[in-house]
Each structure stands twice: as structure tokens, then as C-alpha cells.
């Protein structure tokens, strides 16, 4: 069940769309911001708010890799870019470093549910490679020290 808060926020953005079906992305984003991931029940709820069939919400959720559909993540979601520019500038090393640091494999979540680590394709920040996104923020020109600092600052 969506919380009243999330429901209210979604209702708030519906106004911006002439065709309610178009509000699907925004609605999913609101849910994910709040809960970190999107459940089946969430998709059904969004469908009834939008007046569409649940499968049409699932289509959107499943198409965009940035939605964590049915994939619970930790409090913070680390997404390291491993596309071309970042890889040339050591993304592979960055991933290994974080895996060792957090004692998890890519795709995994720390036991305290604090972090989930994923790799993603180009985030359009090649000029500042290597880079990662944690939750909704970009962190660029990464080094081991920077990473230590950044992750320490996230509780």
C-alpha cells in the first residue's frame, strides 16, 4: 500500500499531465525516492491512480533500468558507471574497491542494509569520469580517498 504521503505527492503531479498514463514515470520515481524500490503492490496502486492496467505500469518500470522494480535496495544505492570513458579511467578498479570495502559483490546489499552496489551504463558525465551516482547525486573524478569520504558521510 502506498503511504498517504506518496499518494498525495502522486496526486499532486497528476495535474501536470493531460493523459494520465504519461504520469507513470513520475509516479514511480516518487515511490522509489521514498522507499528505494518499487513493489508489485505499488505498481497496482499506481495503475488505479492513473486508470490504466497494472501491466502498463510494469512495462514502464521494467523498461527503465533506473527503477528498482521488485529489487529492494539498501538505504543508499551506489551506481557505478562502467561504460567506456569510465572504464578507460578505472571504473573496474573502483568497483573492486567498493566491493572490498563493503564486503559485498556487485548487485548485493550490505548486511546492515546501508548500501546496495550496482553498475550502470553511461550516466552522461564522461568528462568527469570515473563517476558514480549515489541515490540522486553524482560523485565525479573518483579516487579511493573520495569514495571513503563519500560513503562515510552516508549513514
Amino acid at each position: 500500500m502506498l503511504s498517504e504521503k506518496v499518494r498525495g505527492e502522486i496526486r499532486g503531479v497528476l495535474r501536470n499531465y493531460k493523459n494520465l498514463r504519461s504520469a507513470c514515470m513520475a509516479a514511480l520515481q516518487i515511490i522509489q525516492r521514498e522507499a528505494g524500490h518499487i513493489t508489485e503492490a505499488d505498481m497496482s496502486d499506481v495503475a488505479s491512480l492513473l486508470g490504466v492496467n497494472p501491466v502498463q505500469v510494469e512495462e514502464v518500470g521494467a523498461f527503465y533500468t533506473m527503477y528498482n522494480v521488485r529489487k529492494p535496495v539498501g538505504r543508499h544505492h551506489i551506481q557505478v558507471c562502467t561504460n567506456l570513458s569510465c572504464s578507460l579511467l578505472g571504473a573496474g578498479h573502483i568497483v573492486n574497491f567498493i566491493e572490498r570495502l563493503l564486503k559485498i559483490k556487485t548487485g548485493g546489499t550490505t548486511q546492515d542494509k546501508r548500501f546496495t552496489l550496482s553498475t550502470v551504463e553511461c550516466l552522461g558525465s564522461c568528462a568527469t569520469a570515473p563517476m558514480m551516482q549515489v541515490d540522486e547525486d553524482y560523485y565525479e573524478n573518483l579516487t579511493e580517498e573520495r569514495i571513503n569520504e563519500i560513503l562515510d558521510g552516508l549513514k
Binding site: 508489485e40 497494472p54 501491466v55 502498463q56 510494469e58 521494467a62
Partner: protein, 839 residues
């Protein structure tokens, strides 16, 4: 149509001229060249995703997908160049990279588009060595009729498109992307959908499959026959197939009928009643209250004795509108010229004066009206029809043919329906008050053009009234009436789709006639297409199975009684002999108690059908008839499309076709009566009825043949006393009950299909979402429905968009017959509803 431009191009060197905007694919087909396709599907939006249909166009470096590329003048297209052939093979190789290739265990094997294509166009060898993507291990079940294997998918998306663009359900989606995408339901869950199997029919490979046909046969094991669906007057062309005497599937094929691949759940899955063990196999005579098997000779002897001794005025005949034209024709001949009785009818649900007036108002005695032509009108006005449930494929055709225009469809009904979402405007009027809405619309048009419309027949009847007043009676806002009138005024062509609610509620017919006359006077190009529920209802009328007119809508020497009158007479004890074929009056007549009483006093009652129906049980003699699958003959659908059918099986046991039985009864009383040769009977029809003159529908005629004008109009039946439903305030019974056919059922025949029964077990009541909220119930909750004299428990189905006061119970459920709630003469029953607790 006017103003259309044509272009000429060359395909493989051959010149063709086609309409501007035609796809290269269609132009090539017209020129006689076949181009293979996967994702392309007639009637669906183009996606151009599979690239099998590549062609080479002179002057363009890259090959182009012919299924989404329109022609241009002077194009020079090649469909068979070396480059094209190589590209086809390459695209197929791609498709095969992730295809399961488990043909030996796939139900589609032998009739699979992928198999056929690879066989024809190569590649003989794949070069990909990567591991194939697997979506799941075992096939999964998606509905009582659908089983799914995604590992065979070629990603054509036909299933997803057909479900939303044609069926209008949109319950299938594309989950994931690229090679990982899977076309399935929400989280692969069990579907609560229309179960029409359109997704199965369009799937080129073995992904969507029929559950009831699973592992039953290869297509070359099957014997097929072309026939017509027995479940509604859309009259879908279908091919039924049997193996070892058991019918295992019914399919709709591209190119074999006007409906292409379209069928609804009833047509596609309702075939299995044919195999039922309960089919009647011998004549049964009631002796001392119990049925005894008797020979045909004995049965015919009894009939001869009873019917020749009867007073002709007290002989009644009813033949179901499911029989073939030949049978119906012979039936009326039997009743009129052998029994010498004028009393015959084809349905027990509708009053004969109303049906005659409706037939006249809808112009049925005139020529046929093709649905595709009707859809080209600027405005398609659907009134008095529960089209999405009663004529599902008509609903599909309306949806997909008008989608591009968006704005042409207007619906007037008292119940919400699936088609609402494809309409520009859906008007909800009170049950039984369609007439006031039509009159209000007519009046609004009259006020715009008083001079031009002066003298239009029927106009005087509405002159003293006001749009506001009529609007109020019908429960429709004046603004809606004005917009409807506005759209009609602004349209150069109008098609009215008029359904059987005109007959069910016995009203609105005069309004329909008036509106039609007005539109004609205003110079609109007007088509009226009747939407009928029983498969051969139009045929029955054409053949003159009606007490007020004869074959071809000709005059009869003496007007007779319809079922209403017959039952009334029977009830008074003024009935000597009653011959009923296939019409289960007891379960269909809109006052069950009265029908039961009347039939028990009906004199000698002969009932002929495939099953021991409720009416059969109270009869004196039961004759085993045959199904559509056991007959040769013709059917005329609601459009006036005459289609031929061939038999697949022979009648069960000693059962006979209805034609044989009618003919045998005729000859036993009047030697020399017409024989049971359908072809000969059809010749007689062709010779006697203007409508059928020169009509030769062949089995391979994919469009059937349209009837012609009969020259008669039935104008003498125009005036009809319309019913006024009682919608007065009644706090004990606040809801208006209406009835009709359920999406999965047609009368009671479909209830003999195990597969259709499996789609929905319990009797349902459809209520509005407002009422559901008020009662605190949801889909599947139980409610108690009480009428003045009877009550029953129903499972709830919630429908958004239906007014709160309106509830709907399908006429099909024997456990809770809808006609129990009705009293003779009452067209809207009143009920109350309470939450049912099983404790």
C-alpha cells in the same frame, strides 16, 4: 471514395496502381508477390520491428521494411533480389538466436510461421554460439484457456497490440527490453480478461497457446469444416476441426471470412458442447410422466396424429434463430401450409409487434449493410446495444476501424461497456428510456431546421415537447443531447448501430424511425445496422418465421400469434399442439413463472433440440436435433451477409438435422412435402425471395454474399405500442434490473460448453462502482438480490461508469435465471441488493 489519389509503381518490374498511402507490402501483394512478415498484422498499428519484410527500392541504399513504408509514385521495388533474400535469411538467423527450437514438443509445430519461414528462406545453420535467453523453465498458465511459453517468442508484439487495439483490454504488456523483453500479463499473473484468445490466434509461434488444445493434435491429424459461429449474429466465419470424432478447436483464419482472425471467447472456445455426452440421441416420448425412448416412426406417427387432429388456430410453432436459413424456411412452410396455422415465431423474448416495427425502422427488409462500410461514416451512433458483451467481434471492428478517426463513435446505453473508452461520447440513459433520448435528439434537430423537417413522419408526436423535458425523462443532461444532435448535424454520413435493447425494452423504435427519417431528410448518408444476438436472427426474419409477415417480408394471408400470444392462449387452455425447435422458452421468456404455467397447459408439446433443456423436460415428445457442426446450409448475419456452412460430423446417435426432421414431419402429414436437401431448399428460397435472388454463397467466399432489397418495407407495422418502464421511486426495490447476454454466453446453449463454464462458474451481477463502494463489496463478493417474488445469491462484478441505480444480471445462468425477476409486460425489473454473509 471521392478525392482519393492513386499512384503507379513497379514491383519486380510489374506495374501496379494503388491508392496513395498504400504500404509497399500491400502493393506487392496486389501485384501477386508474397513478402514474408512477422510483426505485420492486418488491422494493427505498424511497428516494423522484425525486418523480415525487407524490399529493395531502386535508388535507396538500404533495404526498407515494406510493412511500414508507403508507396511513392514511380518507385521501383524488388522483393526477390539477392540482397533481399540474403537479408531475410540473416533476420531469421537473428530471430533464432534466442528461440527455443523445441518444435517436437510445441503445439504450434506444423503450422508455425517461424518454422515455415525458416524452411523457405533459410538459414540452414546458425552461427551464434551464445547461451540462449530463457525466461522460465516450464510453460505457465495465464488463464483457463491460455498457456504461455516465452522462450519461443519472436518479439513481434502482435499479442500486445491485438489485446489493446482490437480487443480493447490492454492486459498484456512488454516487460523488459531488447532480447530480454517478455510479452505477458502483469507479473505473469492469472488473467482476468475477455479470454477471447486473440493473443493466441495472432501469435506466429508457440508462445500463446490454447490450453484446451494442448498436446491434442498436429494440424494434419485434423479434419476441418468451414462454418459460422452459432453464438451471435456477428456471424463470424470459423473453421472447426475434429480428431477421431471429437471437436478439438475452432479457428478463424485470415482470408477465410470477413472477420479475419477475430473471434470472441464464445466462438473460439465454445465448441466443446458439440462433444457433450448429454447430447440427445433418440426421440423420447413421455409415457406416464417419464420419458421412454421411441423410434422415429413412432414419434412421427404421434406427431401426425396430434397435429392433424388439432384445430389449426390452436397450433403453435417456434423455431430458434440458430437454425439454418433452409431449416427456418422449411419450418415456416410446415407451420403455414401443412399445419395450416399462422402462429409462428423465432424467439420467445420479444414481442412480435415490436420486432416487426424494429425490422421496419432498421430497414432490414432493404439491402444488407456491411459493417466495414458503415464504419466509414463521419458519425457512428450505437444505441440500444450491449455491443461489447453481446456482439464482441462487432465491438472489435468498431474499435480498430474507428481508432484512427478517434472522434466518430457515440454510444447511448444504460450500462457502461468496454467500447466506451473508444468513443467520443458515451451517454447513459435510464433503462427503458432510450426513446426519450432519441426523441429529444430529434427535437433538437427539428428546432434547428423547422422548415426542412416539417412533415417528417412522426415529427408531430414530439412537437409539443421540450428537449429539457424529454432529457429529464431519459435521465440525460440537455448538454449531452445538444452535443449528440450537434455531431449528427455536422456529419455528412451517419451509421446507426441499433441493438436488441430496442426489443428487450420494447421502446425507442419510434424514436429510431423518427431520427432516421430526419437524418435522411437532412440529406445525410444514413446506414442502419442492426446488432442482433442469436446467430441467424436476421435469417429467421428473412425466411418469414414471424407471425406478421412471410418469407421476404411479404404479406401473409392471416396474421398469427407471437410467443406472447401463444402462451396467453395456452394458459387459457386454447392450445392443441405446440412444436418448438431449439428455443428454451422456459428459461428465456421474460416471466418464468407465467411461461411454466402456460406451457404446462399447452396441449401436445413437441420439443426438438440438442439437449434436455428445461423446456424439453416439460414436453410430451422430445426430438433429438443437430448442431450447426452437423449441418450444411446457410446463415444470414446481422449485416445481411449470407454465408455457407458445411458439416464436420454427423448427428449424434439417431439424431437428425433439423431440416430432416421438419421435412419428415411435413411428409408424414402431407406426402410430397419438400425433401431434406439443403441445396434444393435454398434454390426454392432463391426462387421465391427477392432478397436472395441470384445469391450463391460458396464455402470459399471469404465475404459471403450480401442480401438484396426485398422490395417490401413492413411500413404497415410502423406504429407500435411502446412499453413504459416503471422507474418510480421505490425504497424497497431501489435498483433497476436489466438483462442480456454475458460476454461468455449466448442464451443457454453455451452453458453446455465445459470450457466456457470454466471461465466463469457462478452467476454474476454487475453493479456500478458507486453502489459497490456504498455496499462495501468488490469483485467476487456475494450479494443477495431480491425481487418482489424471488431472490438469489450472486457474485459481484464491479463496472465503472454504470449509473448507481442500474444493475445487470445475464440471462444465461440456470442457477439463478434472470427471467425469474421479471413479470410479463415489465421490461425493467426492480430489485434490492444486500450483502450476503454465508453464516
Amino acid at each position: 471514395m471521392n478525392g482519393e489519389k492513386f499512384v503507379t509503381l513497379k514491383v519486380n518490374g510489374k506495374e501496379v496502381t494503388v491508392k496513395e498511402g498504400t504500404l509497399i507490402l500491400d502493393a506487392a501483394r496486389e501485384a501477386g508477390y508474397e513478402i514474408p512478415t512477422f510483426c505485420y498484422q492486418e488491422n494493427l498499428s505498424g511497428v516494423g520491428s522484425c525486418r523480415i519484410c525487407f524490399v529493395e527500392i531502386e535508388g535507396q541504399k538500404k533495404l526498407q521494411p515494406s510493412c511500414i513504408t508507403p508507396v511513392m509514385a514511380d518507385m521501383n521495388v524488388r522483393t526477390d533480389s539477392a540482397q533481399v533474400i540474403a537479408a531475410r535469411g540473416a533476420m531469421l538467423e537473428f530471430v533464432l538466436t534466442n528461440h527455443a527450437l523445441d518444435c517436437p514438443v510445441c503445439d504450434k509445430g506444423g503450422e508455425c510461421e517461424l518454422q515455415n519461414m525458416v524452411w523457405k528462406f533459410g538459414p540452414r545453420k546458425g552461427r551464434f554460439t551464445e547461451k540462449k535467453i530463457r525466461f522460465h523453465e516450464k510453460d505457465y498458465i495465464l488463464s483457463p484457456v491460455i498457456v504461455k511459453n516465452s522462450n519461443r517468442c519472436v518479439h513481434c508484439m502482435r499479442c500486445v497490440r491485438v489485446c489493446s487495439e482490437v480487443v480493447g483490454k490492454a492486459v498484456l504488456g512488454v516487460i523488459g527490453r531488447e532480447a530480454h523483453q517478455e510479452m505477458t500479463s502483469f507479473v505473469r499473473s492469472y488473467l482476468d480478461c475477455d479470454h477471447d484468445g486473440m493473443c493466441i490466434e495472432v501469435c506466429p509461434v508457440g508462445c500463446f497457446m490454447r490450453l484446451p488444445y494442448r498436446y491434442k493434435a498436429r494440424h494434419w491429424d485434423l479434419k476441418s469444416a468451414k462454418t459460422v459461429c452459432p453464438y451471435c449474429a456477428t456471424g463470424c466465419r470459423m473453421t472447426i476441426q475434429e480428431r477421431d470424432g471429437v471437436v478439438v478447436r475452432s479457428i478463424a483464419r485470415l482470408g477465410s471470412g470477413f472477420n479475419g482472425r477475430m473471434m470472441c471467447a464464445r466462438g473460439r472456445f465454445g465448441y466443446d458442447f458439440l462433444n457433450s455426452k448429454e447430447r440427445l440421441k433418440t426421440p423420447l416420448l413421455k409415457v406416464g410422466g417419464v420419458f421412454k425412448e421411441v423410434s422415429w416412426d413412432k414419434a412421427l406417427g404421434v406427431i401426425r396424429e396430434k397435429f392433424t387432429r388439432a384445430d389449426p388456430k390452436k397450433v403453435f410453432g417456434v423455431a430458434s434463430a440458430r437454425l439454418t436459413n433452409e431449416e427456418l424456411y422449411l419450418f415456416q412452410k410446415l407451420v403455414r401450409s401443412v399445419f395450416n396455422s399462422p402462429n409462428l415465431d423465432s424467439t420467445s423474448r420479444w414481442n412480435e409487434n415490436a420486432s416487426a416495427a424494429f425490422i421496419s425502422a432498421a430497414g432490414i427488409p432493404g439491402r444488407g449493410t456491411g459493417i466495414y462500410g458503415a464504419m466509414e461514416a463521419d458519425c457512428v451512433f450505437i444505441a440500444g446495444a450491449q455491443i461489447s458483451d453481446e456482439n464482441p467481434v462487432t465491438d472489435y471492428i468498431v474499435r480498430y476501424t474507428t481508432a484512427a478517426k478517434r472522434n466518430s463513435v457515440i454510444i447511448a446505453s444504460s450500462r457502461a461497456m468496454k467500447l466506451d473508452s473508444s468513443s467520443r461520447m458515451s451517454i447513459r440513459h435510464l433503462p427503458g428510456r432510450l426513446g426519450s433520448l432519441l426523441n429529444a435528439t430529434a427535437l433538437s434537430l427539428y428546432m434547428d431546421y423547422p422548415e426542412r423537417l416539417e412533415g417528417t413522419p412522426g415529427i408531430d408526436g414530439i412537437k409539443g415537447k421540450t428537449v429539457e423535458g424529454l432529457g429529464q425523462v431519459s435521465g440525460v443532461e440537455v448538454s449531452d443531447i445538444k452535443s449528440l444532435a450537434g455531431v449528427l448535424r455536422g456529419s455528412a454520413s451517419v451509421s446507426i448501430l441499433a441493438g436488441v435493447d430496442f426489443l428487450r425494452f420494447r421502446e425507442g423504435i419510434l424514436g429510431l424511425r423518427l431520427l432516421g427519417a430526419i437524418l435522411k431528410t437532412l440529406g445525410k448518408q444514413l446506414e442502419i445496422l442492426p446488432l442482433l444476438d442469436r446467430s441467424n436472427q436476421r435469417g429467421a426474419w428473412d425466411m418469414g418465421v414471424h407471425p406478421l409477415f412471410g418469407p421476404g417480408y411479404g404479406e401473409v394471408k392471416e396474421k398469427g400469434l407471437g410467443v406472447d400470444g401463444m402462451l396467453e392462449r395456452a394458459n387459457e387452455g386454447a392450445s392443441d399442439a405446440f412444436y418448438i425447435i431449439g428455443e428454451d422458452i422456459l428459461s428465456m421468456y421474460p416471466d418464468r413463472a407465467f411461461a411454466a404455467r402456460a406451457l404446462s397447459r399447452a396441449g401436445f408439446l413437441v420439443y426438438q433440440d440438442m439437449f434436455m433443456t428445461e423446456t424439453a423436460q416439460i414436453s410430451d415428445l422430445v426430438l433429438p436435433g443437430a448442431s450447426f457442426a452437423e449441418k450444411a446450409g446457410t446463415f444470414t448475419n446481422q449485416e445481411g451477409r449470407v454465408q455457407a456452412a458445411e458439416p464436420l460430423l454427423s448427428p449424434k446417435g439417431e439424431a437428425k438435422t433439423d431440416l430432416e426432421i421438419i421435412s419428415a414431419i411435413g411428409s408424414s402429414i402431407a406426402p410430397g412435402f419438400t425433401g431434406a436437401d439443403p441445396q434444393r431448399v435454398f434454390e426454392e428460397i432463391r426462387g421465391g425471395l427477392k432478397t436472395y435472388e441470384g445469391i450463391f454463397p460458396g464455402l470459399n467466399d471469404s465475404n459471403g454474399v450480401m442480401v438484396k432489397g426485398s422490395g417490401n418495407t413492413l411500413k404497415e407495422f410502423e406504429e407500435v405500442k411502446e412499453a413504459v418502464s416503471d422507474l418510480g421511486k421505490n425504497t424497497s426495490y431501489p435498483y433497476y434490473l436489466i438483462t442480456g447476454n454475458h460476454l461468455f454466453h449466448s442464451g443457454r446453449l453455451s452453458r453446455r460448453s465445459e470450457i466456457l463454464r470454466g471461465l466463469l462458474m457462478e452467476p454474476v451481477i454487475e453493479i456500478s462502482s458507486i453502489l459497490a463502494d456504498e455496499l462495501g463489496v468488490e469483485d467476487g463478493s456475494r450479494v443477495m438480490v431480491n425481487g418482489r417474488e424471488s431472490g438469489a445469491v450472486f457474485s459481484v462484478r464491479v463496472k465503472k461508469g454504470t449509473p448507481k441505480e442500474v444493475v445487470f444480471i445475464p440471462e444465461n445462468f440456470e442457477k439463478a435465471p434472470a427471467n425469474r425477476f421479471f413479470k410479463r409486460g415489465e421490461t425493467v425489473a426492480r430489485v434490492n441488493i444486500t450483502v450476503h454473509s454465508s453464516f
